[in-house]
């Protein structure tokens, strides 16, 4: 008899290998644990199971027991309990593990099932892979190669369906490529809660379409493109732009809000082509908002700052830093930090404030949360500013107090870390009274009025960490080289700290982190390299009393204790 390893685990046998998996696991996931590939199209771990593609058919059996005595029936040939194999194949996606379950995926029957389903899926498929955007990441291609017969017996005319249907502003549908797996339908209904997709007609003429008068235009529509196993749904932003096999993948974080969805940035030769979600079951599952996918466009935006300026004249960055140091030395400094800066930048900003005896502010960006992956706090890293000690409490909606200090004459120099002070409530008149040192990426009213402007990098051009609404510290990595004329924020900040009489600190994340770990209590004992790809939850108790702006969202309940992390191996 097979003994379960623990009460919550169930031991099953897959292709002769035993594996213990949690109760409720389905056979596809159980097989994954022993590196057995069970192919599928319609199954998605985050959506309901419908079992319509039939690609995951496997052979299933249970240990034989005597119906009367319930005693195991042994096989004299092997000395083991006999297995009663079910003569019909079973879908693995809808079969949950049960003690003693036996699965075979390599038999002739399973092989023929897969060949049959592959053949059926391909007979009416246009096979226009040479012009299809999905090529290179197409399940149909991959599994046809892995499990198909390799030739076609179909000599009839293929079905004809609409080739270019705009389902919404961002999603294009090619119905001929669609294999009717219904993932997009289920996603819209179950995750986006925007039930707009369905099928019309029936049988092989079934056609994906929006309901009459509806459009697929919710802020999560592009997830349907991600989960489409074929090239039926494509992104209007990405289609025909680049072959996916040319693209480099870099792990990053969606910076549009404090939800901190994990992402992959796809780039080639310094140009970013798209952003897609990266699975993190504690944060965003496999989803992200459409609005976060276009953030890469800021990298090549026309408003990008590309040269340092001192008193309106173009200047070398070194000279700009020296000039800034001189201003800082004159005293009366205020530092306007940013909830968009990384933890590392905020750490240095706090150092700079301390070295210049400056007061610190943070610009608040509170909007409406969508209950899913765009949270109310549109700053991705307010918690980083709390953790690093840059600010002591939550930022107020506007910088009124700073404005009063400027009017009173106690503040003469303002360091803005990419924040537009005008937009944050400082009047033009107040701005004219102070010298502004602006470290940022894009031109705005503040950069135009600034005494010193030093261009810095976007999130796609540098390394760093952010702390999301769950107090989960997550890393983002450099996807593309920095724009010409822009300098890494860390380098500028480290030099300013040093010039203002502060300590000499590392100017990149690797050399800076030992200082961070030794000085920031919440990050003690950590190192940059050891933060897992899915992030690390910090102890949030020091800030438990603060009234954060976020409402409930995916994997986030306001005020709830941080979810328990599974132990990592």
């Amino acid at each position: 008899m097979i003994q379960p390893a623990s009460p919550d685990l169930v031991t099953v046998n897959i292709d002769g290998r035993e594996v213990s998996v949690p109760r409720g696991t389905n056979v596809i996931e159980a097989a994954r644990r022993v590196d057995v590939d069970v192919p599928f199209y319609c199954y998605h771990p985050k959506l309901t199971v419908v079992g319509n593609c039939r690609m995951c058919l496997v052979e299933m059996g249970m240990p034989a027991v005597d119906p009367a005595t319930k005693a195991p029936i042994m096989d004299p040939a092997t000395g083991k309990q006999r297995i009663n194999w079910i003569p019909r194949p079973t879908i693995a996606c809808a079969t949950n593990v049960s003690p003693g379950l036996h699965i075979r995926t390599t038999t002739q029957m399973v092989k023929e099932c897969r060949e049959g389903v592959m053949e059926f899926l391909l007979i009416n498929h246009p096979l226009d892979c040479p012009i299809c955007d999905q090529a290179g990441e197409c399940k149909l291609q991959e599994q046809a190669t892995g499990y198909g017969r390799g030739y076609s017996r179909f000599i009839e005319d293929k079905n004809v369906k609409p080739k270019r249907t705009l389902l919404g502003p961002r999603v294009m549908l090619d119905d001929e490529r669609c294999i009717l797996c219904s993932r997009c339908v289920r996603f819209s209904k179950e995750i986006a809660k925007d039930d707009v997709l369905g099928f019309t007609d029936r049988g092989s003429y079934s056609t994906l379409a929006c309901y009459p008068g509806k459009k697929l235009e919710n802020n999560y529509s592009l997830n349907t493109v991600d989960i489409c196993p074929v090239g039926a749904l494509t992104s209007t932003d990405f289609r025909f732009k680049m072959r996916v096999w040319f693209l480099k993948q870099t792990n990053s974080i969606d910076t549009e809000s404090s939800a901190g969805a994990n992402t992959v940035v796809w780039s080639r030769e310094g140009v970013i082509y798209r952003i897609t979600p990266r699975q993190n079951d504690g944060v965003n599952d496999t989803w992200m908002a459409d609005s976060g996918r276009v953030l890469y466009k800021q990298v090549r935006d026309a408003g990008r700052l590309v040269s340092a300026r001192v008193n309106g004249a173009e200047s070398a960055p070194d000279f700009a830093v020296t000039a800034a140091a001189a201003l800082l030395a004159a005293g009366g400094v205020a530092v306007v930090g940013s909830g968009r800066s990384s933890v590392e930048e905020q750490f240095l900003a706090a150092k700079l404030a301390r070295a210049t005896k400056a007061a610190t502010w943070l610009v608040s960006r509170v909007g409406q949360g969508d209950g899913l992956l765009v949270s109310a706090d549109r700053n991705p890293n307010v918690r980083g500013a709390l953790v690093t000690g840059l600010i002591a409490g939550l930022p107020s909606p506007a910088l009124d107090e700073l404005g009063r200090a400027i009017d009173a004459g106690t503040v003469k120099t303002v360091v803005s870390l990419g924040e537009d002070l005008v937009a944050a409530g400082i009047t033009e008149a107040q701005l004219a009274k102070v010298a502004v040192i602006y470290l940022g990426t894009h031109a705005d009213a503040t950069s135009a009025a600034a005494r010193i402007v030093i261009p810095t990098l976007t999130v796609f051009e540098k390394h760093g960490t952010l702390v999301n609404q769950q107090f989960r510290i997550q890393r983002f990595a450099k996807a593309v080289p920095g724009a010409t004329g822009a300098t890494d924020d860390l380098l500028i900040l480290a030099r300013l700290v040093s010039a203002a009489g502060g300590p000499n600190l590392g100017a990149d994340v690797g050399s800076l982190w030992p200082s961070i770990a030794s000085e920031v209590p919440a990050l003690a004992t950590m190192s940059y390299g050891d933060i897992p790809d899915t992030g690390l939850l910090l102890d949030a108790t020091p800030w438990a009393g603060l009234a954060f702006a976020e409402g409930p969202g995916l994997h986030h309940k306001p005020g709830a204790p941080a979810p328990k992390e599974a132990p990592r191996g």
Partner: protein, 453 residues
């Protein structure tokens, strides 16, 4: 051996002159007397009677009705629904239609007894869209019965009440599949559900325990409650109790509906004696015994094997004409009793064209949810369509069989088998005709028989 007399239980009044489908006529003929007695009994007793009767479902699968009821999840605390499957769509079948049109109160009485026995308080009759008059007749009959306190709250002063609603389908064969029907009733596309976990007895209509029974089956329940399960079990043959309505269509002298004790009439008796044999100058070629999805049988075939008679196993050696028309015998010879639609084809029929017709039906009716049936049914239609209207290749028969083999047993619902079995059996029994069709097609047809496809 001469054919036995028909035994009309369900169709007792169907062709009776002067018999109308209103409540007064039904009650003049003893209608609702069984219900009056039934509501005085314990519900469990009625379930026992049905179990003892051995009644098997008349919709197609022949599943024992009492067992179906015993699988109901009665502990969930959720309401239990009865859904009456009146989506009679299997080609060749026209029995439920006559019950609904000619004797609707018999069905309503059967429903009320079933509901009382199973403590059901809400019933939906899902009637196929092509029966608009049937829906009207049922609604009128339900209104009459409600006015007479036979349907609705507190029937016959018993304290028990049950409502019946008629729901019209929109013309889709798949709505006869019980979970597809339930989805349709819930207002969705009739995509059959995956089983497990969605067995209607546990997670049926609105995720509540649900009985789905065929129209004819529920009429039998009335008669079982009347005569008792033991008496009913004596009708027919052991394991195949009661009577069965056989709907004979196609190339016989007297097509129509006939009600016999199950297993008491053989296929030969039915076709040659009851239905008057083949049309003048023709000979029987093939017969589909249980609706178009049942596997076809070829005249001249012989079947040998062992079968259970009582407790003993006895040899049988049957010609096709000797096969008794019951669930088990038809199952033994590789086909099924199905819905009771007997489709007869004589020597004028081209099997390729007949299969083309059946394939056209199934490809049109495939819901399109799961891959093998969706793609396979249309592919088979395209092949037979090309053979008939275009170029036929000798290898097409083998290809057809291979496609059908890739469907059966791999789909969400039994439609996979329904669309694969005709092709599999046509090729198995008439494979030579498919091989030689290209040549045969070139020869002129002498008898002027119209093309089927």
């Amino acid at each position: 051996m001469a054919a036995p007399e028909q035994r009309r239980i369900i169709f007792r009044h169907i062709d009776e002159p002067g018999y109308t489908n209103d409540l007064a006529c039904y009650q003049r003929n003893g209608g609702y007397e069984v219900l009056r007695k039934a509501v005085l009994r314990k519900p469990e007793e009625l379930i026992d009677e049905v179990k003892k009767s051995g009644l098997r479902g008349r919709g197609g699968a022949g599943f024992p009705c009492g067992v179906k009821w015993s699988l109901l999840d009665r502990k969930s605390g959720k309401p239990i629904y009865l859904v009456v499957n009146a989506d009679e769509s299997e080609p060749g079948t026209f029995k439920d239609r006559y019950i609904i049109y000619k004797d609707p109160h018999q069905l309503i009485e059967g429903i009320m007894i079933t509901c009382f026995a199973n403590k059901v308080e809400r019933t939906y009759i899902y009637i196929r869209g092509e029966f608009p008059d049937g829906a009207t007749i049922l609604e009128k009959a339900i209104a009459e019965a409600r006015a007479a306190n036979l349907v609705g709250p507190n029937i016959l002063g018993s304290g028990y009440g049950c409502e019946i609603y008629v729901h019209r389908g929109a013309g889709a064969y798949i709505c006869g599949e019980e979970t597809g029907l339930i989805e349709s009733l819930e207002g969705k596309r009739p995509y059959p559900r995956i089983k497990p976990p969605y067995f209607p007895a546990v997670l049926g209509l609105y995720q509540c325990p649900t009985i789905v029974n065929n129209v004819e089956t529920l009429c039998h329940v009335k008669h079982i409650a009347d005569m008792g399960g033991d008496a009913y079990a004596k009708i027919g043959t052991p394991g195949n109790t009661g009577t069965r309505i056989l709907c004979v269509s196609g190339h016989v002298q007297r097509p129509g509906y006939y009600e016999f004790e199950v297993g008491r009439v053989t296929l030969g008796q039915l076709l040659n004696e009851v239905c008057g044999g083949p049309l003048p100058g023709r000979t029987f070629k093939a017969v589909i015994p249980g609706g178009s999805s049942a596997k076809i049988l070829k005249f001249g075939e012989r079947f040998k094997g062992k079968r259970k008679v009582g407790a003993e196993m006895v040899d049988y050696d049957w010609g096709l004409e000797d096969v008794p028309m019951d669930f088990d015998s038809l199952g033994m010879i590789g086909t099924m009793g199905g819905s009771g639609g007997v489709i007869v084809m004589d020597d004028s029929v081209s099997m390729v064209e007949a299969l083309g017709n059946i394939n056209a039906f199934y490809s049109h009716e495939s819901c399109g949810q799961c891959t093998p049936c969706r793609e396979g049914s249309l592919w088979m239609k395209k092949i037979t369509g090309r053979m008939v209207h275009g170029e036929a290749r000798p290898e097409d028969g083998a290809l057809l069989k291979s496609v059908a083999d890739q469907i059966a047993g791999r789909t969400i619902c039994a439609f996979g088998e329904a669309c694969a079995w005709p092709t599999q059996s046509f090729i198995a029994k008439f494979g030579e005709e498919f091989k030689g069709y290209a040549e045969a097609k070139k020869k002129p047809r002498g008898d002027g028989v119209p093309e089927l496809v």
